[in-house]
Each structure stands twice: as structure tokens, then as C-alpha cells.
Amino acid sequence: MKAFRKIGLAAVTATAVAAPVAAETELTMYYPIAVGGALTQVVDGIVADFEAANPDIKVNAIYSGNYDDTRVRALSALASGEPAQLAVMFSIDAYDLIEQDLVVAFDDIKGVDAGWLDSFYPALMANGNIEGKTWGIPFQRSTIVAYYNKDMFKAAGLDPNSPPTTWDEMISMGKALTKDGAYGLMIPSTGYPYWMFQALAIQNGKEVMSNDGLTTYFDDPTVIETLEFWKSLSQEHGIMPTGTVEWGTLRQAFLEGQTAMMWHSTGNLTAVKNNASFDFGVAELPANVRKGSPTGGGNFYVFKDTSPEEQAAALKLIEFMTSPEQAAAWSIGTGYMGVSPAAYETDALKTYTQEFPPALVARNQLENAVAEFSTFETARVREGLNNAIQAALTNTKSAADALAEAQASAVRLLRDYQ
């Protein structure tokens, strides 16, 4: 009996002591790892550090595949009533997410600091700025860069430290490099053809969409000329394979020496660096009328169906994960860009970029970067553009016809939003 009272007393005391501790906020975050595999552990490490510094917040970081998979996952979860507070999704999903009333603007979250919103590279904020507010915070961002095989350059009698800076140079060097069964250049046209096409279009002086998500310019003469140029690289100049070039195996093809130059995301940088058996370089994309590349990659979004406490906690997590130190570590580990100028001022990134200058190319290109292709109904409009590109490259349709069709369907899809 006495023991019972003792235990009872202990239990009451324990509860009394425990009571003042605040209830934990639990966050579920979906994220894509765009380079495959082992980096989920890096994310788990970052999350653990955050939880240690913030004992009242618990984070479930769920790896959900590539960007498309992550979008489907996160939205499935929301539609089925499961809680998810934030996710890293394509920067270009912003219009659709807003249209479906799924996300909150960062300006509307309590405790957000306007200065913090300004601390990121403006070019990276472009896709997230809609209707005057900020809807996405950059996390793993990229531009397209040109990787080139210095050994193959030397073998062709070209200066390995002077990659092409104009379209004409690209063609003439490409021709010199196309020999012995290898090609001079490969630009992927599966996976994300619209992304590569945007780069070419901006280099030719024309954006393919307006920045309010309502208009596309697919059938503009400059744009048609751009697609014909892309086509000519294989059909006329012979420096690229005919048909489509596969996105998924392009990196391997480059590593196997099947092409001397490749256009790909800077997110491939670490993988190429670790696996190349030859001397390689990374350059900004060549110019025609001007230099340029679209940005790419994923932003943080906070979902609307969240309580103010959850939003504040999510904000803290995002601030942590995009802080200069974390951004630097992420950039070194993946090849994606540091998302703020401050990230490049950290010792870690300073040392790394000194030893490995190619890591700066994507950042330098930000000066000439444009927002990635994004409109309302973005998936369907984008699909139309992708199909047009593939149709032209496989010679199923002429560039003009294919783009005219894509423009017609884009106009039809966007009509209701204007």
C-alpha cells in the first residue's frame, strides 16, 4: 500500500514536471533528390541538425522520387487528407499550385523577414514571384551548362581551354570533333526538351512565354528559327545524332566519350567529376544574339492547409536549409548552385570553388539567366511544346507546323485564364 502511494506520487510529479513542455509541432516534408540515391542520408543529417537546434519541431522528411513523382505524392497526400506542410517541388509548378489554391505566399507567413526574401539571387526568385508575392524559396537550383571533353578537344587540334562562345564556333568546333564514331555535341531532347529549347531561344533573343503565365510565343518567327537551328545541328551539320537524344543516358554517353560536348544541368557536376576518366571542362552556354540559359530545379513551397504554428515551424526549417552554410554544403555535395550570394562567401564554398572552378559556371550564368518555362496549366502547355520539339527533331513535322500546333493548343488552354 505504501509502495503504491509512492508510485502514485511519482507519477503525479512526473506529469506535473512534463506538463509545461510545449506540444511538439510536427512537419511532413516531401522532397525529390534529383541525383538519385545516397543523398537521402545527407538530407536526414541536415534534418537531424535542425531538430537538435529546435527541440520543439519534429520533421518527417520523405524522399518521393523525381520532381514529377514528388508533385504527385505531395498532392495525393493533400487530396487524401494526410498532412503535409511543405515540399520541394519544381519551381515551375507555382502557377498550378496557386490555381489549385494549395500553397501560401511567403509574404503572408507570420514572422517572415523581407530582408531574408531579398537575400537570394533574383534570377532564382523569378519563377516564384507571381501576382506580386513570393511563393517559392530556392533550394536546389541549376542552370544548363556545357560540359566538354578536353582530351577530345586536344585530339581534334582545338584549344582545350577555349570552348565555343558563339553558335558559329559551336558548329565549326563540333564539326572538327565529330569523328571516329563520336559526335561533337549532344543536346538532350527527351526528359525536359523544353528546357534546352528555352536556352536556345533566349540565346537567339526571344523568350518563349510571358512572365505572367498567360501567353506563349511558340509560333514567333525567331522561335521557329531556333527550332530549325536545333534540327540543323543533326540534319545539316551532322554534329549531333538524328532523332531524339536521351536525357537519362546522356551523362553516361559523355563519360563513355560518345560526345565531345554535352548540354546538361549543373546538377550533374559532382557525378561527372567523380566518374570522368578524362580531363573535362564546364563552360557557359554559347551566345547567338545574347548569352542565356533558363534556371531549373526545385523550390520550397508551404502548403495552405497548415496551422500558423506549422507555418512558422516550416519557415524556420526552410530558413535553416537555405542558410549560407547549408546551401554551401548542398552545392558541394550535388553540383546545384548555392542559392544566395552569401553561400558563395562561406569558407567551404570559397575553398571548393578555388579548387574546382567549374562549380562557379552556373552561378556566373545567372547574370544572363531567365525564368524556367511556366504558365497556367503548365503541364499540358509544356507537353505541347515538348511534342513539337520532338516532332521537329524526328522529322515527323516541320518546325513551323509543329510549333503552330503547340501554340494553338496553348492558346486554347490559356484562354480561360486571361
Binding site: G37, T40, G81, R251, E256
Partner: protein, 269 residues
């Protein structure tokens, strides 16, 4: 001449067999060699386990494996329960509307859960079963194929046994449990093997319904692993593929006869 044509046939059959296993053989080979060696078919290049290491840490395969195991078990138990009761009802109990309902059941053979994917997804969410193993398994438990099979099996059991148990005073359920179920054991085993292999390999519905590694089965895990944004690494993907097909493949190779018999049995109508 007859011998010649016989030999030609034998050779043809063997060549076809080799062609048929070649994708598996190549993947097996690629899994154990570095990507560059694999792709260039350097026959004498060294064997390596590094792809398996990379693949292993790249995703929680053990979790996926246990999820899949749990999933096929839950589905099988559910199927046994539902199809036994329904099959018995159709086989041995007379009640009005029986034939009409049986036709409705047969219709389910064509109303595939995969085709109704959007509405079923809504339904599962409404039941609160989204992202649970039960949610993945439930649409498959009332298997029209299984009901049909059990009905056939139960119909084949001699009426005398049924009557004998009746006389002893058993209830319907008692008769079912003591007479029919034990005698239909071969059918149960056959059906189990078919069901397990089917649901072990199912992809589209689990893709939609599972959202986290705690419920994700091997097929979905493999597809996520194999479709990263920036490019595929053939050797690592081959290693991951080998790891995920190994359990069922080894089980098949060891229990070949039973597997084939099972499919044979369910095929004979």
C-alpha cells in the same frame, strides 16, 4: 529427314530459350561490373560488389521487402476469407438471385481496379486507408477469379460428405470448415502461388496509394530508384533490379514444379 527436322527444332527451341533469358543475364552481368566495364562488355574485367553497395544505401530495400511481404500476406488472407465464403455460397447454397449475382461477380473480371484508379483512390482516401498496406490490398480481396475458382473446387466435392457432416449436426459454417476447405487444399495452394506472384509484382495501384517508405512495396521503390532526375546509372540500376527480383526468382527456381503446377491448375477450367 525426320531426325534433321527434329534437331533443327531442338536447336530453335534452345536458341529461343537463350534469347529469352538474355536480358536477365545481361543485367546480372552489369550488376557485378562497373558501369564502364558493363557497357563496353569487357569480358575479363573484375567483378565488383560496389554497385550493390551503392544501390543498397540508396533506398530502404529491407523496408520495401517487408512491406511487399506484408502486402501479399494481407491480400492472401483477405482473399481466402472472402472467396471461400462466396465460393461456397455460390456452389452449395440455393438462394434467390444467385445466378444474377454470380454474373455481377464475373463482371468484376473486367472492371479492373487499375482502370478505376482515380475513383478507387478517392474511395481509399475517404476510408482513411490512404498510404496504408490495407488500403493497397483491399480492392483485390474480392477477387472474381478467386471466387470462381473456389466455386469450381467446392462443386467438385462429393455430396455424400456434405450430407454426412449435416447428419452429424454441423452448421453451414461447420461443414464448410471441416469438409470443404480441407478437401480444396490443392486449389488453395495453387491460388496462393498465383496471387502472391501477381501482387508481389503489382505496380500502378501501389504507386498511387502509397506515399512513404513505410508502405512502399518493392516495385514502386524500384521505379523511384530507377528514375532520378539527372540520369541513370545502368549498373547500379541493374544491381537494384537484381536485388528486388531475387526473392521471387529464387523461390521460383527452387519451387519450380510447384509454381508451374499452380499456374497449370488454375488454368485448367
Amino acid at each position: 529427314m525426320k531426325l534433321f527436322s527434329k534437331n533443327i527444332e531442338a536447336i530453335g527451341a534452345i536458341i529461343l530459350a537463350i534469347v529469352w533469358v538474355s536480358p536477365l543475364l545481361f543485367a546480372f552481368w552489369a550488376a557485378f561490373h562497373s558501369t564502364s566495364d558493363a557497357v563496353n562488355f569487357n569480358i575479363s574485367s573484375p567483378w565488383t560488389l560496389s554497385n550493390f553497395q551503392t544501390a543498397w544505401v540508396g533506398a530502404p530495400w529491407l523496408q520495401y521487402f517487408s512491406n511487399t511481404f506484408l502486402l501479399v500476406t494481407v491480400i492472401l488472407i483477405g482473399q481466402f476469407f472472402v472467396t471461400t465464403l462466396a465460393g461456397f455460397a455460390f456452389a452449395q447454397i440455393q438462394f434467390p438471385g444467385r445466378d444474377f449475382v454470380f454474373i455481377l461477380v464475373l463482371m468484376q473480371l473486367f472492371i479492373l481496379p487499375e482502370v478505376l484508379i482515380v475513383e478507387n483512390y478517392v474511395m481509399v482516401s475517404r476510408l482513411g486507408l490512404f498510404d496504408t498496406i490495407l488500403g493497397v490490398g483491399m480492392p483485390y480481396m474480392a477477387s472474381a477469379f478467386g471466387i470462381f475458382l473456389m466455386r469450381q473446387a467446392f462443386k467438385g466435392i462429393p455430396k455424400e460428405l456434405h450430407e454426412a457432416a449435416r447428419v452429424e449436426g454441423c452448421t453451414w459454417l461447420g461443414i464448410l470448415w471441416r469438409v470443404y476447405v480441407p478437401l480444396a487444399r490443392p486449389t488453395y495452394i495453387a491460388y496462393a502461388l498465383v496471387s502472391v506472384s501477381t501482387h508481389w509484382n503489382n505496380f500502378l495501384w501501389p504507386l498511387i496509394v502509397t506515399n512513404s517508405p513505410e508502405t512502399r512495396p518493392l516495385t514502386v521503390g524500384l521505379s523511384i530508384f530507377g528514375a532520378p532526375e539527372n540520369g541513370v546509372d545502368i549498373s547500379v540500376i541493374s544491381a537494384a533490379t537484381m536485388m528486388s527480383v531475387a526473392p521471387l526468382l529464387i523461390a521460383f527456381l527452387v519451387f519450380q514444379k510447384q509454381f508451374v503446377q499452380a499456374f497449370l491448375r488454375t488454368g485448367i477450367k
